[in-house]
């Protein structure tokens, strides 16, 4: 799949090795601009490795990663993030010893102090995830798993970014909170943000997903529209072992 | 083949290395005859001591992966054991045995405690702690002057058989007078050979292999079922015991011991240098490295002196080349070795042979 004007992010034939282990065996992935792409697959399929390779945390041994017109395969993580990509890893990456406020301040690259964080944006985040406001001055380590998850996503959206890469945001969240998160992503999509999401939750896929890519054994084995995928129960069964 | 069994199946695996080792062995075996003179024999004896000391450190660092700066402490215990008992109980074999036994016992207890403690804390903590302990021990040795002779150390006599005044033949043999000094040298030689072979046996035994497994991946070793605590503590104890024996060898040769002779940090650095240059995790590296190092150390100063005089026109250059600053150049060599020769000489030779 070549990089067309419609794709914000494209991976071509990406191989990744971790030490002696060959994890990604030629991943081809296209993330269309302004849409939400879901990355599905069984545990161990290579989804997290793909995300880390995009972010430069692990380097591709072969193949290319393109962001817009730029090739970012060999770039370092801070540079990649600086291009306008926000990454929420599976372990959330919360700094437990820092307060919620400090966590958010760190994510707000443009702000030198908490006062400089965009007010409107913050209010929007507080509305979506009340826990962030409630525990503003508390150490982030004191938050529950679900609350940390919300903080992690809040950090990713505290400043406008072109691409959000998120690894399993709904893990451990109560259904009510999951709805809030879905609303948040829907609104982000409306405002033109591109999202690449690894997620097991059915609701997410059905309500938000535009494109879908399924991975297995370090390769993308199916890519297409979500509409098609949702309609084909047999395909879902064979690729994921479950129906959406 | 007999040689294989002797070396516990740990062959040099490189023709050049085998030749070097053989050359070293022959040189040391016949040193009194090949290299006449007092200084040469002292250099040879020092090499023997260091080979054992560094090989024991290699067991700990190269095979088990533990960084400990307390090694010189055990070296010192062995040396002081002989020194103190010979001073107090007189120049007889009984005193030597008592000293040896006592120092081994103390080393056993201390290394056991240190080994156990190392597992409560992280490796880096452990390295720093051993540094502190070794430094404190050195101070203690100079402070307990009633016992240890303080800063001045202890001079003592040894059984007549190995003292220079004893002559067991009238005529010199092949130009070398057959006296106690010669016997002493050969005592050290035999001891060194036996101890090195013993170390080879240990590292090539199932025990040694488990150590290497632990070094590579402690978590996995524990998961397979090996109790890491037991293996590491045992390695620490063994390593300390061999170091103690090396210390005893040193004291027997010098008939003197003081805080600087066996406890100084310089010695620790020397050991580190030798094990890195020679090759970690090889035991043979200790032999090759020790020869190289001791010879260089003994004769480097002469070399520097020449350079120093030649550069007398440029005072700053002369200061850099002063023979007193040989440690500077050793330090530079050390840093370069860590970068460019991480596997040491033995590693490089084996890699070349394997191609």
């Amino acid at each position: 799949m070549s990089s067309t004007a419609g794709n914000l992010l494209a991976l071509e034939g990406v191989h990744t090795h971790i030490g002696a282990y060959h994890i990604l065996h030629g991943v081809d992935l296209a993330v269309p601009r302004g849409q939400l792409t879901m990355l599905l697959g069984r545990n161990g399929a290579g989804k997290t490795t793909t995300l880390r390779t995009i972010m430069g945390l692990w380097h591709a041994s072969q193949g290319r990663v393109r962001f817009g017109e730029k090739e970012i395969t060999a770039q370092h993580t801070p540079q990649i993030a600086g291009l306008g990509i926000a990454y929420v890893p599976e372990n959330m990456g919360i700094f437990s010893d820092l307060t919620v406020k400090e966590n958010m301040l760190l994510a707000a690259r443009g702000a030198k102090s908490a006062q400089q964080i965009d007010d409107t944006r913050l209010k929007w985040i507080f509305k979506l995830f009340p826990a962030v406001e409630k525990f503003w001055n508390h150490p982030a380590g004191k938050l529950s798993g679900g609350q940390k998850q919300m903080l992690a996503v809040s950090r990713a959206i505290v400043e406008p970014r072109e691409l959000l890469i998120i690894d399993e945001p709904s893990k451990g969240l109560a259904p009510v909170m999951i709805n809030n998160m879905i609303d948040a992503f829907a609104e982000l999509k409306r405002s033109g943000v591109t999202i690449l999401l690894v997620e097991q939750n059915i609701n997410f896929a059905q309500r938000l997903g535009d494109t879908v890519a399924v991975m297995d054994n370090g390769r993308v084995v199916h890519a297409g529209s979500m509409a098609e995928f949702s309609a084909d129960a047999q395909l879902q069964q064979s690729l994921l072992g479950l129906a959406l | 083949m007999f040689l294989k069994r002797l070396l516990s199946n740990d062959m040099p695996r490189s023709r050049l290395l085998a030749l070097l080792l053989l050359a070293v062995f022959i040189a040391l075996a016949f040193a009194p005859f090949i290299f006449p003179g007092v200084k040469a024999l002292s250099v040879a004896a020092k090499i023997l001591v260091f080979v054992v000391l560094v090989a024991s450190f290699d067991l700990l660092l190269g095979y088990t992966g533990i960084v400990s700066f307390a090694h010189t402490m055990f070296f010192g215990i062995g040396a002081y054991g002989i020194a103190i008992s010979a001073s107090r109980l007189g120049p007889n074999w009984g005193a030597v045995l008592v000293g040896l036994g006592a120092s081994l016992a103390i080393s056993l207890v201390l290394s056991f405690a240190i080994g156990l403690f190392s597992l409560r804390v992280r490796a880096i903590f452990f390295a720093m702690i051993t540094l502190a302990v070794a430094s404190a021990f050195q101070t203690l040795a100079s402070q307990l002057s009633d016992f240890t002779g303080g800063e001045d150390g202890l001079t003592f006599k040894l059984p007549e058989l190995i003292s220079p005044s004893f002559e067991f033949a009238e005529e010199p043999f092949l130009g070398v007078s057959l006296d106690g000094r010669l016997l002493c040298y050969y005592l050290l030689f035999v001891a060194a050979v036996v101890l090195v072979l013993a170390l080879l046996r240990i590292v090539n035994s199932p025990f040694g292999r488990v150590l290497q497994a632990i070094r590579e991946n402690e978590f996995r070793a524990e998961a397979i079922g090996y109790r890491v605590v037991v293996y590491r503590t045992t390695a620490a104890v063994l390593s300390a015991l061999f170091a103690t024996l090396a210390g005893a060898m040193l004291a027997i040769w010098l008939r003197y011991n003081g805080p600087d002779t066996s406890l100084s940090f310089e010695i620790m650095i020397d050991v580190l240098l030798i094990v890195v240059i020679g090759g970690m995790g090889t035991i043979y590296g200790a032999a090759i490295g020790a020869v190289l190092f001791v010879v260089a150390q003994s004769y480097l100063q002469d070399l520097l002196r020449i350079g120093n005089e030649a550069a007398s026109g440029l005072p700053w250059l002369a200061a850099l080349l002063s023979p007193d600053r040989w440690l500077l150049w050793l330090g530079v060599l050390f840093v370069l070795s860590v970068y460019y020769f991480p596997t040491g000489i033995v590693g490089k030779l084996r890699a070349r042979a394997a191609k």
Binding site: A81, A107 | A123, A319
Partner: protein, 326 residues
Amino acid sequence: MKLEFDWRPLLLAPILALVALPLTGSFSTWLTLTVAGLAMGMIIFIIASGLTLVFGLMDVLNFGHGVFIALGAFVASSVLGLMGDWTGSGELWRNLVAVFPAMLAAMAVAGAIGFAFERFIVRPVYGQHLKQILITMGGMIIGEELIKVIWGPAQIPLPLPDALRGSLLVGDAAISKYRLLAVAVGVVVFGVLAWTLGRTKIGLLIRAGVQDREMVESLGYRIGRLFVGVFVVGSALAGLGGVMWGLFQQNLVPQMGAQVNVLIFIVIIIGGLGSTGGALIGALLVGLMTNYIGFLLPTLTQFASIFLMVAVLLWRPQGVYPVANR
């Protein structure tokens, strides 16, 4: 800042001081010893703070930190040597005018050498602990020898400027003026460090980086550059500590770096690698302990700090304030 603050370690130093009170016999002796201990502790803290941050932030163990201590002290001795008439004067302000540039020069040189050290010695072995230990030790040996080349191998006296000598009398106790100055400087350094770490974005980055370097990079910050900065500042602080230590002893030897090194390690182990607050507590404890034991049982002085360290580690094997995520 934090709601649930781990206050127990804060009590360690006061408890030690209180325990020592009855043992030292008289209040005035106790006061003199305590101030001496606090002063020594503060100086050690200044030196140790850089090292613990460097380790916490980049997992780099600099066994050669002592070289900056010695360097700072020797540079200061040269500067002070040039300003003999200022130091010889009995007026305080004149003395300070001499001491201040000496400190600045020490910090500048130590910082510059720190920059070179990081670039050429530390950076190539990033991530490999064993090599780091070996190489930084090698770096220290080279540094010590170079000091001998430049300043000679013998010890150099470093007398205190006139106005800073002597003591103030508080009741029966004689409190050394210099020690009070040391405590003051230590408090200022701690204050600046605490403020930087707690209230500035750079400090925030450092604290976050100590916890999770990868995440900080994922947020778009080039933490590698920050590290160089921390290393240089840490080296400069070590240089400052070296000057103060030298004035404390009134004597300099090229090996002083190696000697103080051991104490520094004990301090940061007690404090927890990566924690400045912990380093302060550890430093004060070591300073107090050394002085109390030095008075009560002089032969055991060397071991005092080690006993302290073992005791603390038995209580908390990771140190007093272990940094999370490690």
